[in-house]
Symmetry: C2
DNA sequence: CACCCCAATGAGACCGGACTCACTCCAGTT
DNA sequence: AACTGGAGTGAGTCCGGTCTCATTGGGGTG
């Protein structure tokens, strides 16, 4: 029963020999191209079956130039937002015969450069990426130049003409902020994981990715529209690890003009903020209003149910994959930014600001403002 | 400025030509093997730099036989448990120069067969898989036979001698059930996504994966040890999609001898169960005690904080990758099941059974039993 | 000074498919 | 009957690396 240790797989040549035809004929029969007589086709196919022949995808890629593989370069698989997006992309791609190679960058440019390099070396047919830093894009341009179509997911890079799939985060953030302002909140905290030169936002500071820049931009927009001057110290960056998120939250709460509402830039940040609030025995929304980006399955179940700015993560993955497939099909229409709609889902974590409690109607329970 | 559209990448031959040496010499200098004089090495390396030479990983794989790629075949990336495990594996693998190809199976055997086939065709050096069905393993054996070392994640397949990384789920489930029994619960519901011939467990039924079989086994163990006969109708299977999970929960609650406690087989099931409980205005843990497998970041934050049976998902991924690397290094020690320790984290979703409320001490607030 | 050894080098085989080219038949034209 | 055309076929090249093998030449040894 114990066969030779590694009965290495049959090749076209093996099949050809078994079928008593030339390698070329066997390849034709197997590949379904060129002219092959019925009897030969039968013999070859039977022999292949018999030998359990499977084409070597590597060899095939060598001279077709295509590998039927798409590289996905994102910050972190374990972030449910990206997890879902990957799933969306992966579903579409597989349906079209493509496989997915994955790389995590942790938002580090060097890791991203590495990843892109590897993808190129492996001759992926295309790349889906969430560029970590809009200012370090040489490797991305290199990938494009090498002929690998690319689609940006969740972000775009100003000045780079590349397809992208995003959500109208600026509008969404603006809307949420406007509602908070209307509820009497003046200090609105914002905590994000983006890497920035300082932990506190400084006017005019440029952020490495559009995704967070838009969130913050939307908030500032709303302040501007309301004619109110926000305190930059309310905007906290560099909060990626649990400890730094905690520190940022603490810092916010310890401010003399501490914000009465907090917006978390994503669900992972949000979770940690909530923990700190709970530890400090601050009630949400009575003491502090809270909302976050990304609607997670658990957001309606925590206490209180969280008001969120939802992004269609799965659909974003689908859209990115679809756009990429379009490029692979040879489309050369100008690069296009696809902006999907996000949605503010009002639950119970937002209420009128403490001091304004008499002026505005209650927001508890998910009643819409206005 | 606009160069030729696809200035296809430089090859060893190009570099050799530029450096005025033979292809063989260039290859030696580039690959760092064989004997190469210093001046030649310089010239070649400079030329490579100049031409921006990058070796074609495909071509390399063709004759080394190794692709520096590991296939990961799991049910679903978007399940945070697998997401974290993938991250763990991916971190270790990348550190050792391997890349990861991903495939989702949705627990469907046909998708799994497909995925494995593709991996083999791409000549992955090894495979990490969570086999969907312990009875349909021909393709897995084929992979082993083809010389691809494999490691099972989260599951093992009885009768297949393959490395695996698991958690002592049976003990964990047994412990949890024992505590529930001690708290006076007699009816303990169990809801799982496993595919089974019927939606209700039937004694002697074999389940397709060890992971769920162990969970259920542990529960039955505890019943047996306590000398109590469980009602098989308390054990609900086939609850994968939100609707089926809801239906299973409803069915459980509508039973004449409805369980007073529910164990969810994973966090995605748990979330849906919680929603149904909430809709029915059933209080946790006053009306129904609840606990679930997998500790998610949100489990302490929902209302009430959820008691969980935690699995070290990230570490499991790390362990699986480590085991695989060991095999790739040529180790031929007998296959080994690595069993990591899970942990019961007691929070506030478990309390004494209604009828037994006078006999047992309160469990609210995370106090351990006994 | 003849001899040996080995560093240094180039030519070319090879991995496993995809594909080109040249050649053979034979049916269909004219 | 000579001629065209395309189906059917095999030999062989190519993709871009890795690696074997044979050859060269200079330094060390007896």
């Amino acid at each position: 029963m114990n066969e030779s240790p590694a009965p290495r797989p049959a090749t076209v040549a093996d099949v050809a020999r078994a079928a008593n035809v030339s390698k070329a004929q066997a390849a034709r029969a197997l590949g379904g191209y060129g002219a092959v007589s019925e009897p030969v086709r039968r013999r070859v196919l039977d022999a292949a079956e018999e030998l359990n022949y499977r084409p070597n995808a590597l060899a095939r890629s060598m001279n077709t130039g295509r590998s039927q593989t798409i590289g996905v370069v994102i910050a972190e698989v374990e972030n449910p937002f990206f997890g879902l997006a990957i799933r969306g992309a992966s579903d579409v791609l597989r349906r079209h015969g493509y496989d997915v190679v994955l790389a995590n960058t942790d938002e580090r440019t060097d890791a991203e450069e590495d990843a892109i390099r590897v993808m190129l070396d492996k001759r992926v047919d295309g790349i889906i990426a969430s560029p970590a830093d809009a200012d370090a894009t040489a490797h991305l341009s290199a990938a494009m130049a090498a002929g690998s179509p690319m689609v940006f997911l969740d972000r775009h890079v100003p000045g780079m003409e590349v397809d992208s799939v995003e959500v109208d985060l600026r509008r969404l953030a603006g809307q949420a902020t406007a509602e908070l302002l209307e509820l009497g909140h003046r200090g609105i905290g914002f905590i994000s994981a983006v890497q920035a030169p300082s932990d506190v936002y400084e006017p005019g500071m440029t952020l490495p990715n559009s995704s967070v820049a838009d969130r913050l931009g939307g908030i500032l927009d709303a302040y501007a529209r309301a004619g109110i001057e926000p305190d930059p110290r309310w905007m906290r960056l560099n909060a990626k690890a649990p400890e730094t998120i905690r520190a940022a939250t603490q810092a916010l709460l310890d401010l003399d003009d501490a914000p009465t509402a907090i917006i978390a830039s994503d669900s992972m940040v949000g979770l940690e903020v909530l923990k700190v609030l709970r530890e400090r025995s601050l009630r949400v929304p009575e003491d502090v209003s809270f909302l976050m980006f990304d609607d997670m399955a658990w957001s309606p179940l925590v206490d209180p149910p969280i008001t969120v700015l939802s992004q269609p993560a799965y659909d974003m993955g689908v859209a990115a994959a679809t756009a990429l497939l379009e490029r692979l099909r040879g489309s050369s229409t100008p690069p296009c930014r696809r902006v999907l709609e996000g949605e503010m889902i009002r639950r119970a974590s937002v209420a009128p600001a403490r001091a304004a409690v008499d002026e505005a109607p209650s927001m508890v329970g998910g009643t819409a403002v206005r």
